[in-house]
């Protein structure tokens, strides 16, 4: 299941992927053993370099960021029924003990997106792959959230909102066209669905005056409904076009109603009364039985993020099977 990761320049995409990898490593080596992951060698090379750097207190370098165009992980979730079986049975391959999900994140350049938006034609393979995504993960950089309307940050956010809204609409249009094609070919398919995921990146940089203006407190709630309300209160102000087009998907025949919201932060070293010079250093956790020397980041949020895909993993295969069946039929007809 391809997952598109959208984020403005310097919105923290690589850091997000690095922290996700870090969370996968920690969560995937937990005692429970109900989550496993695999990374292809190219992705592993890049992610381990990012991970090493973070464990050394450094943010990803510009050179590393440039190397990333596509990153893939395979997430494996222990199926509930299997989890109840004796250990030696659930280890058998014929049991298919894990529901798997291919998580691919594409880092598409601004130029590629602009070209696609201007022409409406997905000529580049990366954009074509991007449009096939079932999960769209949008990074919203909290450091750019400001209520001062004459600042470059405010204008950047306005532009970013327009770009993401346009991309979401192009996703919807693509999915709807695919669905109509399936229907016309006589294939029964479920109505198209996209799972949007919003990640509020650099959440620790969100300014107090912004929160106060919106009547929000600093902590992100635990309860799903309250999380949604909290996140939407921010999105409503800073990316309203995106939020309205997510909701509007249903009107266009592509449901995007199952949005999920997560936040991301990584603690950096601060010296009282002094502004940091250059790139801030990442704070690392102390050593403990469950691990240590890790970047101090919103680990629980990343675990929630990984867990969010567990449900999707159980739903997606049918849709993929439909598409595969359709492809097979098309090939059979053309033969």
């Amino acid at each position: 299941m391809p997952c598109a990761l959208l984020g403005d320049r310097a919105s923290g995409k690589t850091t997000f992927l690095g922290l996700l990898y870090s969370a996968q490593v920690k969560y995937g080596t937990g005692v429970q053993d109900d989550f496993r992951f695999h990374a292809p060698i190219q992705s592993l090379n890049i992610m381990s370099a990012v991970y090493e750097g973070m464990k050394d207190g450094r943010f990803p370098s510009a050179t590393l960021k440039e190397e990333i165009t596509e990153l893939g992980f395979v997430f494996g979730y222990l199926r509930k029924v299997v989890g109840k079986l004796p250990y030696y049975i659930r280890q058998q391959n014929w049991m298919h003990p894990f529901s798997t999900l291919r998580f691919s994140a594409y880092d598409v350049s601004g130029e590629d997106i602009e070209e696609f938006i201007e022409t409406g034609i997905a000529s580049r393979p990366l954009i074509q792959q991007l449009l096939k995504s079932v999960v769209v993960c949008v990074l919203v950089d909290c450091s750019k959230m400001t209520t001062e309307i004459d600042t470059p940050a405010y204008k950047k956010m306005l532009r970013y909102d327009s770009t993401v809204a346009k991309l979401l609409v192009s996703f919807q249009t693509y999915k709807k066209q695919e669905y109509d094609r399936l229907k016309d070919s006589g294939v029964r398919a479920d109505a198209p669905k996209i799972y949007p995921v919003f990640v509020l990146s650099k959440f620790d940089t969100l300014r107090d005056d912004v929160l106060a203006r919106l009547g929000l407190h600093r902590g992100f709630p635990d309860n799903n409904r309250a999380r949604k309300e909290y996140a939407e209160a921010l999105l409503r102000v800073f990316v309203p076009q995106t939020l309205s087009q997510i909701r509007g998907g249903k009107v266009a025949g592509v449901s995007m109603d199952k949005s999920a919201y997560f936040l991301s932060w990584v603690r950096t070293e601060t010296h009282e009364g002094m502004d940091p010079v250059g790139q801030a250093k990442i704070v690392r956790t102390g050593f403990a039985p469950e691990g240590g020397g890790e970047p101090d980041f919103s680990y629980d949020e990343y675990v929630n993020f990984i867990e969010h895909f567990r449900d999707i993993a159980h739903k997606i295969p049918d849709e993929i099977l439909e598409a595969e069946r359709f492809q097979a039929q098309v090939m059979a007809r053309s033969a």
């Binding site: 409406g120 309307i149 009107v251």
Partner: protein, 306 residues
């Protein structure tokens, strides 16, 4: 899909109107109540989000942005509990789809086109051809062009503009004289109403501000008094009925304005942005009028459904 053409004088605020209409859709389409949803077509979004960005940063659309906007297509829907007009039409056995698509078409330099057509050109080949098959026509009335004729006289008519709109309406009527039972909905939108000359309102014995849009009767009466006097030919064309062919529906009226900052020498006019509770900043404009306009479109969609 109902087609709605928008006509107006040059600089009457057509692009700003569309930009504010989109801003209202974004506002109501992202609010906490989730009582209204819309979807903009990709091609339209590309253009209109440019206007939106300018409005939200306090600038009016520039010439390049205006040039890019020709037509906007969107689909809007109210959830079942707040279907309003759509639900009433639905319960009468119309289509079960609670959403409706629209195509809003801007007729640029329409007065020139009408003049060309009146001097022997063909309406079917110019930009006016879009109007011939429309379901509604939005007639923009620039409130700054309303004036008093003389010391004790009536309001001045909008002369050429009035004649051009009348000619267009009659051309549409003529081109569809075989269309039995068809209705064309006229919608008047007063733009820049915050700058209307107070003398005009005094002469027409009207208050400084129009009644709230929720007070439908008095709101329409207020507008009608201005339209009757400033666009008499257009009004007479709308009222001229016949037993056969296309008929005009009862006109709808709306008011639009966007407040601006105190002008500074050497600086372009800036839109005043207001802080608006849960949605941050927005241009200082009558969003309720725009919401009502959207409901009006929804009503037209319900009526024009086959």
């Amino acid at each position: 899909m109902p087609r709605v053409v928008i006509v107006g004088d040059r600089n009457s605020g057509k692009t700003t109107f569309l930009g504010l209409l989109y801003a209202a859709q974004v506002k109501f389409g992202s609010d906490k109540a989730d009582g209204f949803r819309f979807h903009a077509a990709f091609e339209s979004l590309d253009e209109i989000s440019g206007v939106f960005q300018r409005l939200m940063s306090g600038s009016f659309p520039d010439a390049a942005t205006k040039e890019g906007i020709r037509e906007i297509a969107f689909r809007l829907s109210y959830p079942k509990t707040r279907l309003g007009v759509l639900s009433r039409r639905r319960s009468r056995g119309a289509s079960p789809d609670p959403s409706a698509s629209f195509q809003l078409i801007l007729l640029r330099s329409f007065e020139d086109e009408v003049a060309r057509w009146r001097s022997g050109g063909s309406v079917a080949h110019g930009t006016l051809s879009g109007a011939l098959t429309s379901d509604a026509i939005v007639i923009m009335v620039d409130a700054t062009s309303l004036a008093v004729a003389d010391e004790e006289g009536e309001l001045a008519t909008l002369g050429k503009y009035d004649e051009a709109v009348e000619a267009l309406l009659l051309a549409i009527k003529r081109s569809r004289d075989q269309a039995e039972g068809k209705l064309l909905y006229p919608i008047f939108v007063f733009t820049k109403f915050d700058r209307v000359d107070p003398k005009v309102l005094r002469r027409a014995k009207l208050d400084g501000d129009p009644p709230e849009v929720s007070k439908k009767g008095s709101h329409a009466d207020y507008a009608k008094r201005l339209v009757d006097r400033s666009m008499p030919k257009t009004m007479s064309a709308i009222q001229s009925g016949g037993r056969r062919g296309l008929r005009f529906g009862t006109p709808w009226y709306f008011f639009s304005w966007v407040r601006t900052e105190e002008p500074l020498p050497g600086r372009a006019e800036k839109i005043r942005l207001r802080h608006s509770g849960a949605i941050g900043w927005e241009p200082d404009y009558p969003s309720d009028e725009y919401l009502s306009f959207l409901e009006c479109l929804a009503g037209i969609a319900a009526d024009t459904r086959p």
